[in-house]
């Protein structure tokens, strides 16, 4: 009796599991790779991972991606990695299982790129990299061998650090301390390397570094570093949260005169820049989330953008714009409270609305990105007056 009961139960469970697998498989939309879906009504379910909701530099990328995807008529699903590297793979897996048709991937560590590449290839889900990308040519080449790899839109983070390092050295500053994200973060590693190389090449010296895993807990380690190096004359914060922490730390010790430089421009830092509490800042490169969404859209519509060698394009020269204090108001109006690229701008990067779009369209858009360029464009669209352009020194 007992044995018979178990046999029947086992059979029932096996049938249920088999049906679940079959029905799930039927529910998965077929990949649109290679098909001409330039129909004006085709919409897609796009996934992306937000490394940590609540952190402005990450949330603004999600917001930008959502804006661009909704302009295309798509639905965006964002997974929250909760600042945990080991959760990223599980989140990507869950997104794929939920039936996404494309993925915008934010790879927080180098080792994740081949892993996610394989996952997407196995699941036949096209994916694009935004902001972060492999730092080696071999890593990029490996991705380009994947037929589901759509491309990269990112910034030269080392150049961002170099720009600030050179600027700091030009100010006559000699001793710097650095506050940045955890080691292994490809963005912050490159910024710090760039700053260090440029600053030391110009005769300065980096006398202390604090790498902090949790940006929300950065004030105390930043203060410890500042106290331990009272002779430093400047602080480079490789991210917005670390700049905030450095400002807070130095406010507690007003006798320590250290100039603050940073990469990343969040609302608070923009105000601090205007108030003179930050000497110089560059950032605003989160537009990569919108531009990469356009790359993905073209792929899904069957008109993938390719480079001269027929491979997925790699755009890693998105400028990290330098924001002078004089243009803070404009930046707030169009980058923080508004959008630097409108729906029309993003659609203009998609074959569906602009059949002339090609590799060079993206290349030029990305290379020309700057505060001045965007303001001049908005002037043509009637959003900025000539008087305002003159007032803010835009030529």
């Amino acid at each position: 009796m007992k044995r018979g009961f178990f046999r029947v139960s086992f059979a029932v469970i096996a049938v249920i599991v088999a049906l679940s697998v079959i029905l799930t498989g039927c529910g998965q939309p077929a990949s649109n790779a290679g098909k001409d879906n330039a129909s004006k009504t085709a919409t897609y379910k796009i996934g992306m991972n937000n490394f940590g909701k609540g952190a402005y530099p990450l949330d603004i990328m999600e917001k930008t991606s959502k804006f661009a995807n909704e302009a295309f008529g798509n639905e965006l699903i964002a997974a929250d990695d909760q600042f945990k590297i080991d959760k990223i793979v599980a989140d990507i897996q869950n997104l794929i299982s939920s039936g996404i048709q494309g993925l915008q991937f934010l790879g927080m560590v180098e080792t994740l790129f081949p892993v996610v590449s394989k996952m997407c290839q196995d699941a036949k889900v096209p994916f694009v990299l935004m902001d972060k990308y492999p730092t080696t040519a071999e890593g990029i080449a490996a991705l380009q061998n994947n037929p589901y790899f759509v491309g990269i839109v990112g910034s030269d983070n080392k150049a961002a650090g170099v720009a600030i390092g050179e600027f700091a050295a030009q100010q006559g500053l000699k001793k710097a301390i650095i506050v940045g994200a955890a080691q292994g973060d490809p963005t912050h590693d490159q910024r710090i390397i760039g700053f260090t190389e440029a600053f030391e090449k110009a005769g300065g010296k980096v006398i202390g570094v604090s790498r902090i895993a949790d940006p929300s807990q950065a004030v105390k380690p930043a203060e410890d570093l500042v106290i331990a190096n009272p002779g430093a004359d400047c602080v480079y914060a490789s991210g917005g949260d670390f700049a905030t922490a450095s400002i807070t730390a130095l406010e507690k010790h007003p006798d320590l005169k250290m100039k603050i430089f940073c990469t990343d421009l969040d609302p608070m830092l923009v105000d601090k820049l205007a108030a003179g509490k930050i000497e110089a800042a560059n950032g605003g490169h989160w537009v990569s989330a919108g531009i990469s969404a356009a790359l993905l859209q073209n792929y899904l519509d069957g008109h993938a953008i390719k480079d001269a060698n027929g491979k997925a394009p790699v755009y890693t020269n998105l400028p990290i714009v330098v924001l002078p204090a004089s243009q803070v108001d404009m930046y707030k109006k169009f980058w923080i409270d508004g959008v630097p690229y409108t729906e029309e701008d993003y659609k203009n990067l998609c074959y569906r609305w602009n059949p002339k779009v090609n590799y060079d369209t993206f290349k030029d858009t990305i290379a020309n990105y700057s505060i001045n360029e965007r303001l001049l464009h908005k002037a043509k669209q009637g959003q900025v007056t000539k008087e305002e352009l003159d007032k803010y020194g835009v030529k």
């Binding site: 909760q82 945990k84 955890a182 902090i212 807990q217 570093l225 608070m268």
Partner: protein, 328 residues
């Protein structure tokens, strides 16, 4: 006459032993600090660094004091980290609106309400407190995340406390608050009926009930007391950090590790130093480890977190040394 003299001699011997043990502990700490100073080439034992370490020890001290009321009754509440986040943001919002009274009351009200709510859930549902606490933590984190998302959608971040209302995190006010907290907790924990009742409940609930202690009432009062100290931690935290971000996925629990390590070390010392007094000493000692690691350039997320994990385990062992049974 003879028995009185014997008692006096025994008490005197015990006091001498205690003073000797305290002296040994303090000497060991001093020796370690000298070593730290050598390792950091003289950057550890500067007046400014010591003052900074003291101010960094204040928030964990208040959280540990709050934990001592809650844990004393045998409750393991893992939602306290999430409560601190909400209390900190409430302090920021109210502080920006109403100044210092808003800063203080905003944090206290939220912390007390949430702590009392937790205790109510523990009492009524009879679910093990660590499970119920996890559930409450997820609820509170969701509230924080929703608030954060609402702000992000407006192009803003979570509330930033205005500079004009941040003096409580500056010296000497933060040290004065620390001292006031120490006096308050010492009296409440050791010299009031509630403190004694909580420890009796933590020792053995059945016996405490038979002694005539109203368990639920004592737990509720303990929750209020714990909530007060956690609320104080909330507004000091907001004053110090200026902005406290939301956490999700039970990430708020990690913020408890430092106060937990502080409490465990204090409990390891409680045979020679009253736990209320041992907490700030322990907080300062543990923070000094992190201070040295930061000065030496050890990145967080790796060795620093490993050190904290090892400390929690080691001090947990020391605190439970001598217990013959499994301790919750």
């Amino acid at each position: 006459m003879q028995p009185s003299i014997l008692n006096f001699n025994r008490i005197s011997t015990n006091n001498n032993k205690r003073i000797r043990d305290i002296g040994i502990v303090l000497l060991c700490m001093a020796a370690i600090f000298v070593l730290f100073n050598i390792l950091t080439q003289g950057r550890f034992l500067t007046f400014r660094n010591i003052l900074t370490m003291m101010s960094h020890s204040v928030v964990p001290s208040f959280v540990a004091w709050g934990l001592s009321f809650i844990f004393a009754s045998g409750t393991t509440d893992l939602s306290i980290g999430a409560i601190i986040i909400l209390a900190s943001n409430a302090a920021g919002i109210c502080g920006n609106q109403f100044g210092y009274p808003g800063l203080v009351l905003g944090a206290l009200i939220i912390a007390i309400i949430l702590q009392v709510a937790n205790t109510y859930v523990f009492i009524k549902t009879k679910i093990p407190s660590w499970i119920a606490g996890l559930g409450m933590a997820m609820i509170y984190e969701s509230i924080g995340a929703f608030y954060s998302k609402t702000r992000i959608d407006k192009g803003l971040q979570v509330v930033e406390l205005k500079e004009s209302v941040r003096s409580l995190a500056q010296n000497p006010y933060i040290i004065i608050l620390w001292a006031i907290g120490l006096i308050l907790v010492y009296i409440l924990y050791n010299r009031t009926k509630t403190g004694l009742n909580l420890r009796a409940i933590g020792g053995n609930k059945t016996v405490a009930k038979m002694m005539g202690i109203d368990l639920n009432r004592a737990l509720m009062i303990g929750a209020v007391m714990g909530g007060i100290f956690i609320g104080i931690a909330g507004f000091i935290n907001e004053s110090y950090e200026m902005r406290v971000y939301a956490r999700t996925g039970l990430g708020s629990i990690s913020t408890l590790f430092f106060p937990l390590a502080t409490l465990l070390l204090a409990q390891a010392f409680q045979k020679i130093i009253n736990v209320a007094v041992a907490i700030p000493i322990s907080a300062f000692f543990i923070y000094s480890l992190f201070n040295v690691l930061t000065i030496l350039g050890v990145p967080s997320g790796t060795w620093q977190e490993m050190t904290l994990g090892a400390i929690v385990i080691l001090f947990g062992i020391l605190a439970q040394k001598g217990s013959k049974e499994v301790v919750k």
